[in-house]
Symmetry: C2
Amino acid sequence: MMSEDWEVRLREHGYRITPQRQLVLEAVEGLRHGTPEEILIEVQRTASGVNLSTIYRTLEVLEDVGLVTHAHIGHGAPTYHAVDEHIHIHLVCDRCRKVLSIPASVAEGFVNSLEKDFGFHTDISHVSVHGRCDDCAGLAPLPGPDDAL
Amino acid sequence: MMSEDWEVRLREHGYRITPQRQLVLEAVEGLRHGTPEEILIEVQRTASGVNLSTIYRTLEVLEDVGLVTHAHIGHGAPTYHAVDEHIHIHLVCDRCRKVLSIPASVAEGFVNSLEKDFGFHTDISHVSVHGRCDDCAGLAPLPGPDDAL
DNA sequence: GTATATGCAAAGGGTTTGCACGGTT
DNA sequence: AACCGTGCAAACCCTTTGCATATAC
């Protein structure tokens, strides 16, 4: 993990090697799941001067060269992952907000149908699946910010 | 479609019947897919004085009583549907932005696995599935706003 | 008449952008 | 030395909120 591959990846795409890019990548790998804001905080533990806009621009670059991906959990900020993570699907409970990560293989049949029947090539890890976790099934919605569906 | 059921639904939940609520519901049904902004424009064709904040508040109410749902397509505004629509899944092409609606039944096996293996009760129509449509598979990303992933 | 809904305007998250400076190549 | 990347601040989009007025009941 975090070999020098990342430098090569960046160079191959015409990008430069900078401390910020290294720090962001390390933060994403360390956090395993992180919003831009969370990544900023992590990065600032080492380099307090780094700006949020740099995080956004850097994540875009890292995603472009295939070092990170992001997924949408509800309508808040997206979360970023390193690509060397196991590909996984997020199950988001709309009641308690818990997020379950499950192996992408569970969706294999589904993904294959989409490919075969609709010619659609799915990036299954990109979007989260919403619903109710076992504990919350059948319960009334929580009060409070019933947002983020 | 658009029987008086909606009035009953609202009353049952202690909400009042207002022209705005009727117009928003009709707009959602007419548009089949609509963001709050699009719904506003549709509503304003009849009642130009209606405000965006009313659209948001009204959609929340209509969703609460089970007359509409929303789904997230990319990281922009969510789209709303009437619940009498067939339940469907959105396949969003990350290259050309095309949105394919497919019957939710395609995901039955997947949904069942989630239930059986993880105790997770899925609302499959809530979030869109991202990837590449047949036309765009294997092509380079589009230039321009390569956003909205 | 009373409580709820609405319009308006302002504030709030999350994200993007223009610009000048600084760093990588 | 040339160009890319960064910090900063302002702008932007989408959504929420406070408050006074209007409306459904």
